[in-house]
Amino acid sequence: MSNDSREALMVGRRSDGSVVRRPLSPHLQAYDMLQMSSLLSILHRASGVALTAGVLLLVWWLVALASGPAAFAAVQWFLGSFLGLLVLFGVTVAGWYHTLAGIRHLAWDAGYGFRIEQMYRSGRLVVIGTAVLTLLTWVLAIVAWVS
């Protein structure tokens, strides 16, 4: 035993009520990471962290725009490069996924959608919605770009 307060998360109970030292949720060792519930959960975290890249790009874009045409040309060059487009695409996927999964989270917080079949339905909606919104965003952006 250590003095770390998180040891408290290692005190589980068997179904008969007796105490056992094992991790309580959420814990990677206790989950099948390929089932929808835990996969979508970790992806919400991953997408939130990945969106940091989007924030950095936005701040760079704004500061360059405020600095003048030369600095702005540099950002636009990067955003139009292969790497830049790849990052933008990743940010689009992460952004829509995190938004939709976030709304799902807020519904749970309000007490809705906990039944197992509702959970699977909302999970599928989040995945399909992410694909649809990402596609829509890029189609519209490309149309705006070429016109």
């Binding site: 936005l58 500061v63 405020a66 938004t99």
Partner: protein, 129 residues
Amino acid sequence: MAEGVKRLQTPLGRVRGLGSARSGTHHWWMQRVTSIALVPLVVWFAAAAIGLAGAGYEASAAFVADPVNAVLLLLLVGVTLHHLAAGLQVVIEDYVRAEGVRLAAVWGVKAACLVLGLFAAVAILRIAV
């Protein structure tokens, strides 16, 4: 859900609502408030970014200079960075065990988010004002 379950918390503890962290549910609550605020802001921003695809310097500057766009951008940046700092804090607290490293990482993230927010705000105001 908890109907019929007897409360283990004392009435005073419930009124104070502070728990062992001494800050109650403020962090969690602000993460929900910023999440709700971000939904319309993110949708607006996606539409704005689509419209700006391929736009040059003049058109981009004119977009940010519009007062409505400038205010929405300031809101987006401010709320996003609050939400991001709070979110990354939770992630760090989950995975970084050593007390000193954890504190340094959380403070580092908060400082970085503050600095990024200030840069963005100054840039927006410089273009718009």
